[in-house]
């Protein structure tokens, strides 16, 4: 066969770049290959042969809209209570535009006070937490609740496996 007579079969670069060929290489050879790749890419990369332009410090902003120039008001308006929601919106949007009041005033009047909210949350966490307890813990909780005389069962004792007696 002709193969015996040929020299070592030369593998193409693409083949060498494949992952299974690179596992056997050491880090240095890998770095070399990467650098060669970068060289190839950068040589093929087209670039403009122009002198470097210094970007002027731009202190002028070009703006095509009239809104920031003239500080125009909000476009929806209502008068004499024709549409109360729009009137509320007018106050909100115009104060935002004028930036006199920085506070956005999104807080609606609270139906429930903060303290009551905190109280409810405390009990809520317990109630929902019970749902995710394991059966063993749930059983313990129940016993604790029922035990009014505070005769706490020593729950520290781990229940070991008792060999069934013959």
């Amino acid at each position: 066969m002709a193969m015996a007579g040929e020299g070592k079969p030369r593998l193409s670069k693409n083949l060498l770049r494949m992952k299974f060929m690179q596992r056997g290489l050491d880090s240095e050879t890998k770095k070399q290959l990467e650098e060669e790749e970068k060289k190839i890419i950068s040589e093929e990369h087209w670039y403009l042969d122009l002198p470097e332009l210094k970007e002027k410090e731009s202190f002028i902003i070009e703006e095509r809209s009239f809104m920031p120039c003239e500080d125009l008001l909000y476009g929806r308006m209502s008068f004499k209570g024709f549409n109360p929601e729009i009137e509320k919106l007018m106050i909100q949007m115009n104060s935002r535009y004028k930036k006199e009041e920085i506070e956005a005033d999104d807080k609606m009047e609270a139906d429930v006070s903060d303290e009551e909210m905190a109280r409810r949350y405390e009990s809520l966490v317990g109630t929902i937490g019970k749902k995710f307890l394991k059966k063993r813990d749930r059983h313990e909780l129940q016993d604790e609740d029922e035990d009014e005389n505070s005769n706490l069962r020593p729950s520290n004792v781990k229940k070991m496996f008792l060999k069934p007696q013959d």
Binding site: I60, E62, E63, C69, G75, R76, M77, M93
Partner: protein, 258 residues
Amino acid sequence: MAASGLSAEVDVGQVVLPGDVLLLPAAPNADGERLRLGPSSAPRGRLLCGPGLRRCAAGLLVTKCGLLRHRPPAGAGTGGGAYWVDSQQKRYVPVKGDPIIGIVTAKAGDIFKVDVGGSEQASLSYLAFEGATKRNRPNVQVGDLVYGQFIVANKDMEPEMVCIDSSGRANGMGIIGHEGLLFKVSLGLIRKLLAPNCEIIQELGQLYPFEIVLGMNGRIWVKAKTVQQTLIVANILEACEHMTSEQRKQALAKLSES
């Protein structure tokens, strides 16, 4: 007459023509009214170059004819004020961020085609309404009026508008109700009406209870309790562009009597 590089010494409030070059002063805080030759050191703060003006090598280049306006900087050192040209036109060119009134002309799958008075129809996605999801579509029909703002508006692409703001809230945008009257005015009048202390709007507001939506594309929608009141408000708004303030006050006084 040398066309390029001819510096112009113009006062704010004067007529400027396309092609005029306005040079910026060295210290805008000192004397911002008169634009004159100055050394090319950068002024403090950033200058806002509004519609009708473009940046050029020497300073600002005028591209529209009209009156030159200037707004001095608001706070000390927070920006360098604004210059723009106050011109008059009736044809609207879509600009990003402008609130406008559009008329829905077609429904094409997931988007609505909206006529905004520009050269192209704007597209409005059905998800761009407050609380709209794929299952919960907004109830928009062909012929409805929508109040929204542009998010994409340049000369290379089809304009796109939305009816929510960046945080997802409507803020009064969306479908405008069925009754009422839509009419068209010039763009300069809209800006005059939306100016911070507009007498026309304040005087009209004391006349009847009514609701009004002003779009930057020259469209106004008015709704009042009766058809007659709606028509009166519409006529006043159309006519007040060419009336002096005394004539307007006389007309409103006559109306409030009757």
